[in-house]
Symmetry: C2
Subunit: 331 residues, 2 copies
DNA sequence: TTTTCCCCCGCAAACGTTTTCGCAATCAAT
DNA sequence: ATTGATTGCGAAAACGTTTGCGGGGGAAAA
C-alpha cells in the first residue's frame, strides 16, 4: 500500500513551501529556473501524481467530458465515441459515457450526473425531439459547454455538429440517375423522425429532375420491416431495377431479402445506401456502394468544436460534416 | 449561474452545525428523527447535490468504475460495456471507459488514469498476453478491485470472468456431427492468441470421435483472409459440406465468399459459427446457426463479481459463462 | 545613503466533505 | 443524591490543491 505522495511530501523533502512546489510544477513565472528544475526532478523521481479530486474541488473543474447517446450499442455512436476518446486522451481528458436509451427521463438523470461530476463539457445526441431546452441550459449557465451532435434540438441558440443529411440523399439520387435507373424502390426510416423527413424530401426533390423514373417510397421502422418491403416489391410483377436504403439498418433487411430471393446484384438490381461506416456495406459481395456519413469524422469535428469553445470561442455555431460517395460494385 | 448549494448553506439555514447536516443526510443514528426530517426536507427543497469531488477527496474513494478494453468499436466489448453500465447505474456508479488499442503501453497509461481518478474498481480485458502482473497488482495493493474478463492473464492469483471457450467449440463440433457432416472446413483465428488455441484443441478433440470425417483446419487473421480461405476451399475439386467459423469476424469473410460463389446454404453446404451476439448471424438469409458467447451476459457476471468483491468477498475466483447453441437454418 | 523596484518565495485561506472527539443534557440505576 | 450510561449535537481537523497577498533581499536608480 504505497501511500500516494503529495505536494507536501515534495516540499518537506526539499525544504520549501507547498505553494512553491505547486507553482514550480506548473511553470509559474514567479519561480526561479533553479528551484523549478529541482522540484521537477524530485517529482519525477518520486512518481508524483496530482490528486485530481483535490484539484477539481479547488478549481471547480474536471478533466472529464460527459458524452450522452441514445445507445452505445450502435455503430454510429460507437465510432463517434472512439473519435472523441482518441482526441480527448491527447489533452489528458477522460470520458464519462452515458446512454439515455432514448428516454427523456434517463437523459435528464444523465445530465444531472454530468453536473454532479462537474464535467468540463458535454457532447450529447438528444433523446426526445423536445423543444424544451431548459434542462440543457442549466449546464451552460454553469459555464459547461454543451455540444449537440447528430440528433440536435430544433433551436438556433446552441452549438451543433451535424451530418449533411440532405446532401447525402442528393448524392444517392444523383448516383442512381447516372446509372439510368428507372424503377427505384426507396426505403426510408420511421416517418416521424426528423432525419427521415430531411432525407426523404431531399431525395425526392433530386429525383424530380428525372421525370420518367418510377419511384416507390416506403418506410421501415426496423430491419425486419425493410426485409418484408423488399421481398414484396421483388415478388411483384415488375421488379425494381434499383433499391435505395436510407440507413445501415434498412440495408441489412434489404440484403436479407436479396439473399432469400437469390437476386443477382448488380445485374438484376442495383443497391445504394447511406451508411455510417464501411462495416455493413463491406459485409456483402459485391460490396455495397454507399454514401458515407461518418460517425468517426463527426466525433473529430465535435471535439474540435468543444476545444474551440473552451478556449474562448463561445459563440453559437452549426457545423456540418460533408458526406461522400464510396463506390462498391452494387450499382 | 445558480451557485451550487452546500452543506453549509443548509446548516446556516437551519441554525445547526454542518456535521449534523452531513450526518442527518446519510441517516447516521446519532441524529434524532426530528432534525433528520427537517434536514432532508430542506435539502430536497434546495435541490442539494453533494460535491462528489469533496467526498472523494475526503474519503479517497469514488463512484466510478474503470473499464479498459482493447477497442470499444467491437460488438463484444460493446455489449459487455452496456451490461456493466446498466448495472452500475443502479448503484449510482459511472463508467470511465478506456481503450488500449491492444497496445501494452497505452494500457499501462490507462491503468494510471484509473489510479489518478481513484476509481472504485477496474474491469479489464488485457492487451498483451504478458505474464507481467506488476502493473495490475499496484492497483490491488491500493485496495482497488480488479476483475479480468475475456482476455485474462495466465496466472491463478486474480479474479477472472471468462467465456466457456472450450465448451463452445465442443458444442459446435457436436452439432456438426449430429448433422452427419463428413467434410468440414474449420477456420480459426490467429494461431498465436490463446483463445484460438483453446477452441482449436477442444474442437479437434471433440471431432476425434467421428473418425471418418475429413477435417480441414485453417487460420485467418482477418475477415479478408477467411474470405480467401473459403473461396479456395470451395473452388477445389471436392467441396466441404460444412464450414465452422470460430468468430464473427471469420464468419463475415466466409459469408462473402458464399455470396460470391452463389453457394446454397444449407443445401450445398452447412455453416456454423461461434458468435458474441445475435447481430452478425441474423444478418444473413438463412440465418446462421451459432454458439452464443454473450458479451452482455459476461458483463452482468463481471459486475456481479466486482460487487461481491467490494462487499467483502475478496478471495480470487474464476467464473465461467456457459455458452449455448442457437439454431438458425444454416446447418 | 536612501529609495524604488523586481524577483522569489512563504503564509494562510479556501474548496465541501467526513469523522473523531468531546460535551451537555437526559434518563435509568444504585 | 450520586453514579453511569445513553442520546443528540457541535468544534475542529483533515483530505491535497490553488492562489491572493505580502515580505525579505538584492540590484538599480535617485
Amino acid at each position: 500500500m504505497s501511500a500516494k505522495i503529495t505536494l507536501k511530501d515534495i516540499s518537506r523533502n526539499l525544504n520549501i513551501s507547498i505553494s512553491t512546489v505547486s507553482r514550480a510544477l506548473k511553470g509559474h513565472p514567479d519561480i526561479s529556473e533553479e528551484t523549478r528544475e529541482k522540484v521537477m526532478r524530485l517529482a519525477a523521481l518520486m512518481d508524483y501524481e496530482p490528486n485530481t479530486y483535490a484539484i477539481s474541488l479547488r478549481t471547480n473543474k474536471s478533466n472529464i467530458f460527459g458524452i450522452i447517446v441514445p445507445e452505445i450499442s450502435n455503430f454510429f455512436y460507437h465510432s463517434f465515441i472512439s473519435a472523441v476518446e482518441e482526441e480527448s486522451k491527447k489533452i489528458g481528458f477522460s470520458l464519462l459515457i452515458l446512454q439515455s436509451g432514448n428516454d427523456p427521463l434517463v437523459e435528464a438523470e444523465n445530465i444531472r450526473l454530468c453536473r454532479l461530476n462537474r464535467v468540463a463539457g458535454v457532447l450529447i445526441s438528444v433523446a426526445a425531439s423536445s423543444k424544451d431546452m431548459s434542462r440543457y441550459q442549466k449546464l451552460e449557465e454553469n459555464g459547461v459547454p454543451i455540444i449537440f451532435f447528430d440528433k440536435v434540438p430544433d433551436v438556433d441558440a446552441c452549438n451543433k455538429v451535424c451530418l449533411a443529411d440532405e446532401d447525402a440523399a442528393v448524392l444517392a439520387a444523383t448516383a442512381l440517375q447516372k446509372k439510368g435507373k428507372q424503377h427505384i424502390l426507396a426505403i426510408f426510416g420511421h416517418p416521424d423522425i426528423s432525419i427521415t423527413q430531411k432525407r426523404k424530401l431531399a431525395f425526392i426533390n433530386a429525383m424530380e429532375k428525372n421525370k420518367q423514373a418510377k419511384l416507390i417510397i416506403a418506410h421501415a421502422g426496423s430491419s425486419r420491416e425493410s426485409f418484408e418491403i423488399t421481398k414484396t416489391a421483388f415478388l411483384a410483377s415488375q421488379q425494381p431495377d434499383a433499391v435505395f436504403c436510407m440507413s445501415d439498418e434498412i440495408l441489412t433487411g434489404t440484403m436479407k431479402a436479396m439473399q432469400l430471393l437469390k437476386i443477382n446484384i448488380p445485374n438484376d438490381t442495383g443497391i445504394i445506401s447511406i451508411s455510417n461506416d464501411d462495416f455493413i456495406p463491406h459485409l456483402y459481395e459485391p460490396e455495397i456502394t454507399y454514401i458515407e456519413t461518418s460517425g468517426y469524422q463527426l466525433g473529430k469535428l465535435a471535439f474540435e468544436r468543444i476545444s474551440d469553445y473552451m478556449s474562448g470561442k463561445k459563440f453559437y455555431r452549426e457545423l456540418i460534416l460533408p458526406s461522400k460517395l464510396v463506390e462498391g460494385n452494387s450499382l
